[in-house]
Amino acid sequence: MAIITGRKRRDAGPKANKVTRKQIRQENRKEAYFTASQRQLIWARFRRNGTALTAGFILLTLVLMGLFAPFLSPYDPTIAGRDKGYTNGAPQIPRFCDAAGCSARPFIYGTKRERSIETNFRWVTSIDTADRRYVQWFVQGDRYRLFGLTMTTHLFGVDSGKIHLFGTDDTGKDIFSRTLHAIKTSLAVGTLGVLISFSLALIIGGVAGYFGGIIDGVIQMVTDAIRTVPSIPLFMAVAAFLPDTVSAEARFFYISLILGLIGWPTLARRIRTHILVERNQEYVLAAQLSGAGPGHIIRRHLLPSFTSYIIVDLVISFPYMVLSETALSFIGLGLKDPVTSLGVLLSNTCQADVLLNYQWYFIPVIFFITLVMAFVFVGDGLRDAADPYGSQRK
C-alpha cells in the first residue's frame, strides 16, 4: 500500500501546487479501493457493521477463553479437581464489603460442612461469614499442560479452601472450570468437524462442478438423498456404533469424524454451484483467450473468486457443528464425562433435582447461546461483507 501511495505522490509532483491535499487524499482513497485485495475489501466492509464487529470481539474473547482455559480456570475440570467438601454448592460471588467492613481485596466466605443432632444427622453445608477467604492472583494449583508447557500457575484462586464462581456439580467439580474447558472442547470438535467436512465437500463438490454432466447428476442425487435424511437422527445412528469401551479421547476424535462425514453435503453443494457458475464466466473465457493455462486460471482467477465465500460458508456452518455435537452429547451418544464439552454440561441439567434446587447448572447455557450467537452474527456480517453488491442493494 505504502509503495502505491508513494508513487502517486511522485507522479503528482510537478502539479502539486494545483492539486490540494484533500484531493490527493481522495485520489489515494480511490486508488486504495481499486487496488485493494478481496480480503481488504471484505475487512473494510465488515468493520462498518457494528453488530458483527461486536460479535467478532465476543467470539474472539470466547475463543481465547477456550484456548487458555487451563490457565484461566482455577481447578481441573475432571474428577481430579473436585471439591469434596462442597458438592452441589451454590456459586460463590466475590464481594468487597460485608457487615464486618470492607476490604480492597475481594473475598468469599468459607463453608462449613457438618452433621449433628441439629441437622438431623444429615450433611449440611453452611456459610461461615466469619471465615473470609481472599481472592489471590496467579496462585499455584493443579498441574496442566498449555501449548506444550507444563504449568501450575492459575490466574486466580483463594488463599485457603476453594473458590467456585459458578458453583459445583453433584461430585463437586467446579462448573466455572468445566465451562471454560467445555468451550475449548466444543470449538475443537467444531473445527475438526468443519475441516473434515470441508475437505470432503471440496473434493466431491469440486468433482461434480468441474466435470458436470452425468457425474454431476449422480453426485447431486446422492448428496440430495443424504441431505433429506434428518441429520441429527443420522448422527445418532452412526454414533451408536461407537462401542462404550472406546477411550474418551478416541471418542472425541470419532465424534468429530462423524460430524464431518455427515456434514459435507450442504457445503459440497455450494462449492459445486460456485464452480459451475464461475467456470462459465466471461473473465475465465477472457483468460483462456489470452493464452492462460488451466492451472493459472484455477489459481489466479477461479480460486480467488470464491475463497472468501468458502471462508464465509465455513464460519456459517460452524455453529451447526457445535449444535450437533451438543445435541449428540446431550442424549449421551456424543462425548462422555472425562471430556468436558458444552453438550456434556447441558446433559446434566435435565434432572428434576437440578431444575428444582441447583439452577446454577444452567450457567453454561448462557455461554453456549453467546457462542452460537456470536458465530452466527460474525458469519452473517462476513457474508454481507463478502457480497460485492451488498452495499449497493441497500
Binding site: T228, M236, F330, I369
Partner: protein, 336 residues
Amino acid sequence: MAAFLRFVVIRAAMAATTLLLVSLIVFSLMELVPGNCAERYLAYKNTQGQNLTREDIAAEEARLGLDQPFMTRWTGWVSNVVLRGDFGESCILRVGINQLLGDKFLISAAICLTALLLAYLIAIPVGIIAASSNSVWLNGSLRFVSYLGLALPNFLLALLIMLASTVYFGDSLTGLFSKEFRDAPWSMAKVQDFLSRVWLPIFILGWSATAFALQTVRALMLDENGKLYVTAARARGLYGRRLRWRYPARHALGPIINSLGFDLNRIFNELPIVALILTLTEAGALLIEALARSNDQQLAGAIIFLLTATIVGLNFLTDIALALIDPRMRKSVIGT
C-alpha cells in the same frame, strides 16, 4: 395438462429414487452393527443359561434369512416395506416393528406437521408486514428473534421452559398423556387430554422453524419489493395491503413453499431430543431409546426411514403445489 402429468410422473420417479437411496443408507446402517441378529439373539439366550453352538447360530441365521447376500436382503426389506408396510422384526425385542411403533409415528408426524403449519401461519403475515415496514424496532427485534432461533435450539428452549415451569408452577409440563390415559385406547376423553398437553411440544418444535421462516419470508419480500414490477404497480396507483398481497407476496410464495421440506427436516432433527426432555412417548423418544439404550438398529432404521419418507413426501407435494401455482415450474421438469 399432459405436460403437468408428465411433470408429476417425473417428480414421483425422482422421489422414489431418493427414497430408494435413503433405504440403502438406512439398511447399510442397520447392517454395520457388529454381530448380526442371530448372534445377538443367541448371545442373549446364552446369558440365560442355555448352551449354544456354532450350528445353532447358523440355523438361526438361515431361519432369519441372514445367510443371503446383502443385495437380496436389501431388496427383500425394501419390497416388504413398500408392498406390505412391514418393517420386519426388532432384533432385540423379538416383536414386529410395526407393533412397537403403533400409532407413535403418526403422533410424531402430526405434532411436527402442526408445528410446521403454525410456524408458517405466524411467519408469513409477520414477515410480510416487517418487510414493508420501516420500523427499526420491529425489524431489529425480528432479526434478533431469528438469530435466537438458531442459538437457542428447541431442546434448550424446552429445558429453559421446564426450568421456569418447575420453579414457578411446580409442574414440569412434560409427557403427552395424563397417567390414566397412557395405555387407554383412543377415546374422546383421551383426545382432549392429548390436546391439553400437546401444545407445548408443538410450540417448542415450531420455535426454530418460526424464527427461520420469519427470516426467509422477510428477505424474500424485501427482494421482491425492490423489483420493477412492484414499482410499476405502485405507479399505477396501487398501495398498501392490496399492492403487497397482490404482487410481491405472490411471487415470494414460490420459494416459501419450496423451503417447507427443509423446515420439516429441521423440526425432525430436534424431535428426538425434545422428546427426551419433555418425556414424550412417541417415535422420537423411541428412536433415542433404540439407539442410546437398547442398540436396536432395526427399530432406529425404520424410524429414520419413516421420517425421511415424510420429508420426501412433503417435498413431492410442495413440488406439485409449486407447479400448480407457477407455470414456469412445469416447463423445467428437472428444474431446481
